[in-house]
């Protein structure tokens, strides 16, 4: 195989990986602040994917334009979920939180199954088969748009946490729970807001993802796991880490699909996770563990 093939696969993998990164960013934000592991993360993404598919098939609305309203819907859902269900659980043991979110995930997957059935749904945009050629490099238009949208949204999120007052307040909650309460922050409300932001993030990622893959109800658990692998690889709670982890996993999957067999690709992602956990348990860009 020539160098061109590798280059094409690498670029495709990185672009897909950026969308993975955006999805994982949602999980990372929630874990970094609320310290709750969202085991229904991938399931939330499938909700967004189905919204995008329905909007496209009914009204021919492009997923890239619809990602804003879809993210808004997920934002509201996320806020309600945290305020209503998860807040009482933040001081409970991990396995208890785990079970709560597994139950939420179970309800989401099977509600989608009831509504949409088990068949895969996809979005056929007008540019689905377009591609750009730069020299010997051929890039799918869908993947390029998807990757660009993911970067843009991630940049917005960074800016929000870095420069806005609310973003700073949320970071304060993440750094020191008691300290944040002492200075008068409404931690419970900020937690709900954080979860909402995480949900909006995964909602936007879901809308973008429909450009790249088909959606089935059973996709949820798989992507929950993938998001975990990415976040742990990049470093739990580290936002650039999630993007980096996403790109790394996207690359690994692309090359595993090329050199071995596509069905074995996630095995390599898990292999990377094991390596990272062994040699750098805090993740590539994570802070040292206590």
């Amino acid at each position: 195989m020539s160098f061109d093939v590798y280059l094409n696969v690498a670029v495709g993998g990185i672009l897909t990986g950026l969308v993975y990164g955006l999805m994982a960013l949602g999980l990372s934000v929630v874990f970094g602040v609320v310290r709750v592991v969202n085991f229904a993360h991938g399931e939330m993404m499938t909700i967004a994917m189905y919204l995008a598919v329905v909007l496209f098939s009914q009204f021919h609305l492009d997923p890239l334009l619809m990602l804003v309203p879809i993210a808004a819907v997920l934002f509201v859902c996320g806020y309600a979920l945290q305020a209503g269900l998860i807040n009482p659980f933040i001081t409970r043991p991990e396995h208890s939180q785990f079970l709560l979110l597994v139950a939420v995930g179970l309800i989401i997957v099977n509600s989608l199954l009831i509504i949409f059935g088990p068949d895969a749904r996809s979005v056929q945009t007008s540019y689905a088969y377009d591609s750009f050629q730069i020299g010997s490099l051929i890039v799918d238009a869908s993947k390029l748009y998807a990757g660009a949208a993911a970067i843009l949204l991630a940049a917005l999120l960074f800016a929000f946490f870095r420069f806005t007052l609310t973003g700073t307040a949320i970071r304060a909650c993440a750094d020191n729970y008691t300290g944040a309460q002492v200075v008068g922050l409404d931690v419970k409300r900020l937690y709900a807001l954080t979860f909402a932001i995480g949900a909006a993030c995964v909602g936007a990622a879901g809308a973008i993802m429909t450009l790249i893959i088909d959606v089935t109800p059973m996709l949820g658990p798989t992507y929950t796991l993938l998001a975990f692998v990415i976040v742990v690889t990049g470093g739990l709670g580290s936002m650039p880490g999630a993007l980096l982890g996403g790109m790394l996993i996207g690359l690994t999957e692309a090359f595993a699909g090329l050199l071995f067999t596509p069905s074995a690709k996630s095995m390599f992602a898990f292999g990377i996770l094991v390596l990272v956990l062994l040699f750098r348990p805090q993740g590539l860009l994570g802070k040292r563990l206590a």
Partner: protein
Amino acid sequence: MIARFFGGPSPRALLLLGALGAMLLVAPFVANDYLLTVLILILYFAYTGQAWNIMMGFAGQLSLGHAIYVGLGAYVAALLFTRYGIAPWIGLLAAIPVTVACGAVIGFLAFRFGVAGVYFAILTIAFAEFARIGFDHLDIVNASAGLFLPVAQYAHNDLWRLRGNPAMFYYVILAATVLAFILSRILMTSRIGYFWLAIREDEIAARAAGIDTFRYKMAAVMISAAVTAFAGVFYAFFYNNLFPEQVFNISRSIEIILGPVIGGVGTLFGPILGAFILTGLAETLNSAMLHFGFDLPGAKQVFYGICLLLVVLALPNGVWPWLARRLGVREGSR
């Protein structure tokens, strides 16, 4: 040992235990085949829940990938049986070292490098997923095409080769569940049980008190893996087919966890009670839907999820501690 074993629970608890035991012993004579299969499923989850509970409930190490031990145990025994005609009980002797070795590798990698809590849980998932995809591409175990055990009508039960009717399988898993319960009881009140308790409650303090935490955490993983191996052997010979996609699936790991968490983590009766509640609920739903001709894929799971949610919200410590108080029995729940 025997005195200590019976010394703990109150007479009332022993009475309840005796009544439950008697009911379970005569069940095959009164239950039809369907009900018996449900009971087998319940006991299977009680058994695996008990095994998981040793690791999480006693030693505080959260495993979300217990399907890997079930799967390895199942594949080792099934492979030996189909290829060389080796009886499952001998196969079990081979399966246990394999699962223990696997548990040792996971434990060693995690505990040596200070991987703990959520990270440890995710590592266990990663290994189970790794095994699932790996076995899916491994030709020696027929890859994704699956491994099948010969099925035939058996005139009489062959306990040695685990070929027979549901009643035989029922007694086998009942005996295993009782043994797992006794083992848990012994472990809980033994020296190692107290070390585990110390590690679970405060690992740093435990280490400061001179407990070799690495060693005892390893012991917890390895014992739990060894106990789970039998569940795999049973699974293989009861269902007669093995697909990596099913055996190693993360849903299997979650199913194992649900029972003890619903029943009460760290208690002896929790895993058993949880298995009865969950499997009972699922099967009741099944037959209710069948009865009303209401066939909507996913509807059962949604209801199941809602019930789960309600239990988790209402009884955070599980059902058993609450029920035990109601019944006026005290079990060494930790």
